[in-house]
């Protein structure tokens, strides 16, 4: 199996070469193209229960599609919905990753993906989203960003604060707590400074240069209102 990010930057996609019978997991709907040998298998990755958890609670599509080289070697290309960069991160040495919902594009080799529900352990208002994706095992994962994808190493004992909307992925070795961006909780949320995650090293964080929530709000200012209210 070989995989690489082509056209890195705002129009990135992942190109994967599969040897016979190899397969990858990709976010449903992320497939751009495939060669004849590649089959799309709609298996419920990780079993029915896991897929259900992901779809009902994680906001992911029901299927993390399995793309398999059933009829010989082949090639497949995958891309996220939003314009932005992609990076392939190695899953090795027992290091697990947490990925913000929707930012996990694909997993390669023996990586298990599962949905983790976050607990309100630090008060009522904690939140990078209710659910995050947890990736474990050995292999690689491809994460996608809205805009550029920035990697920040944080040495042991040091702290680093990232706005919730810009957070993409982080090492499972890290611990984080929720802090506010503005003066008060109310000003944090209304001023758009939002809530932020304060990570403690050692470990690494990946963040995106654009905040999708903020971008969505900006787009909305040009759209005539009358739309429905989202309830979940």
């Amino acid at each position: 199996m070989r995989y690489e990010v082509i056209h890195p930057g705002s129009n990135a996609l992942v190109q994967v070469h599969l040897d016979p019978y190899e397969h990858i997991q990709a976010q449903a709907g992320a497939m751009v193209s495939r060669s004849e040998a590649i089959q799309v298998i709609g298996t419920l990755t990780g079993g029915m229960w896991r897929s259900f958890k992901r779809s009902a609670l994680g906001g992911e599509s029901l299927f993390f599609q399995e793309l398999k080289a059933e009829n010989g070697a082949g090639e497949v290309m995958i891309a996220p919905a939003v314009p932005g960069d992609i990076k392939v991160l190695p899953v090795t040495g027992g290091q697990d990753y947490y990925v913000k919902n929707g930012s996990l594009l694909a997993s390669f080799e023996n990586v298990t993906i599962d949905t983790k529900m976050q607990k309100i352990s630090r008060g009522l208002f904690s939140g990078a989203g209710l659910f995050v994706i947890h990736a474990t095992g050995t292999g690689s994962i491809a994460v996608s960003a809205f805009g550029a994808l920035i990697e920040v190493p944080v040495p042991a004992g040091q702290k680093y604060v990232v706005d919730n909307g810009h957070l993409v992925a982080w090492y499972g070795d890290m611990e984080y707590r929720i802090v506010r961006g503005g003066k008060s909780w109310i000003s944090s949320v209304t001023s758009g400074e939002g809530l932020a995650c304060e990570f403690t090293g050692p470990g690494k964080i990946w963040m995106q240069s654009r905040n999708p929530e903020a971008f969505g709000a900006w787009i909305k200012t040009f759209v005539p209102t009358g739309g429905g209210v989202s309830i979940f």
Binding site: L124, G165, D173, W185, I186, E213
Partner: protein, 369 residues
């Protein structure tokens, strides 16, 4: 050590992540415990660390990672295999590391129970969603309310009280605070830590924030003819707090997502908080149901009388308010407002005031629920 002599097999090795000081990048290493040293096998050869120089703690999002810090150099080693703790326990002996390893091993042993709790949270969410579709939204709000401890309610109150427009210094504030403290001292089994504030506003009103924060508007304090009048209003707001009325209202405004997140013990997103904040900012204009208002009146008057104030002052205060209001506004309010009509309200307050006073005379306390 005897058990070391008895062991003929090679020491067990563990996969670990090795972070040099000042680096967020790791190297994959193999660890083993030999005697009183921790040996890490890296690409550049073995490196030994005295067990007594290591600091052990559990870390990571789930608290399931073993982190060893070499204190003299600041090197960090992270490992997920909990058997390492058994080795450290055996070789660390009676030292600090042995003791900490034993405790950490016990903690890790209880992790599966925590994970089970998460699964139940998910099941709960699904069941609650289905219940919501069948029975509507109110039972869900009630269920969620049960899952919000007073401490969480208090954190909402603190969010609100962060706002700089609230006064907690002036002479007027001291008066309000004194009256408030006297009232809440009479509450039995009170889980809330009450805080009183004055907000500078040209309006005769007061409102309650979840978790025991009560805000009195400055004009009310200026216009009140006695402490009794202020006490009646504050007693009413305290009633809203202990009945958790504001919280209930906010839950309705916050939407299904927030409610479900609370039921399931989940995390709440910025979007959900955003939906919630406008309501929190307009707390004073939140409308309670007539039933909620009547209940707050009842508790408020009883508490006022119990604290030695005159509950009848509420009536005088009302009547003065009514006189100040233009007729057209009165009519509009009567149609729109969920507050009980003033006539009914006055009648009820009069009855409650008399009942509470009579009970007190017999040496009994009125019921505050």
């Amino acid at each position: 050590m005897t058990d070391e002599l008895m062991r003929s097999d090679a020491p067990r090795s563990y996969q670990a992540r090795f972070y040099r000081p000042n680096s967020g990048d790791f190297e994959v290493v193999s660890l083993r415990v030999e005697g009183h040293t921790l040996v890490t096998a890296t690409i550049n050869g073995d490196q030994n660390y005295e067990l007594s120089d290591l600091n052990l703690e559990l870390t990571g999002q789930e608290g399931d990672k073993i982190r060893l810090t070499h204190v003299p150099t600041g090197t960090s080693i992270l490992c997920t295999d909990k058997h390492l703790l058994v080795d450290l326990q055996q070789h660390g002996g009676h030292g600090e590391i042995g003791r900490v390893a034993k405790k950490a091993h016990r903690e890790l042993g209880s992790l599966p129970f925590r994970n089970a709790a998460i699964i139940w949270g998910i099941v709960g969410t699904i069941v609650a969603t289905i219940a919501g579709l069948i029975f509507g939204y109110d039972p869900l709000v009630n269920l969620a309310m049960k899952n919000i401890p007073p401490s969480a309610e208090e954190s909402i109150g603190k969010m609100y009280a962060d706002d700089e427009k609230l006064d907690q210094k002036s002479e007027e504030w001291k008066r309000v605070d004194r009256i408030g403290k006297k009232l809440v001292s009479k509450l039995k089994n009170n889980p809330y830590k009450f805080r009183f504030y004055i907000e500078d506003k040209d309006e005769i009103n007061a409102y309650a924030v979840p978790g025991g924060t009560i805000v009195v508007l400055s004009k009310l304090v200026k216009d009140a003819k006695s402490d009794d009048e202020i006490a009646c209003v504050m007693g009413h707001e305290i009633g809203h707090v202990i009945h958790r009325d504001t919280l209930r209202r906010l839950m309705h405004t916050g939407g299904l997502g927030l409610t479900l997140a609370i039921i399931s013990g989940g995390m709440i997103s910025n979007e959900q908080i955003k939906a919630f904040i406008p309501a929190l900012q307009k707390l004073e204009s939140l409308n309670f149901s007539r039933t909620q208002e009547a209940a707050a009146d009842k508790t408020g008057i009883r508490l006022t009388v119990l604290s030695g104030y005159d509950g009848a002052a509420m009536i005088e205060f009302f009547q003065r308010l009514e006189k100040d209001r233009p007729q057209i506004l009165k009519d509009a309010l009567a149609i729109m407002s969920d507050h009980p009509m003033s006539e009914d309200r006055i009648k009820m307050i009069r009855v409650e005031n008399a009942k509470a006073k009579a009970l007190m005379k017999q040496g009994k306390d009125p019921d505050l629920d």
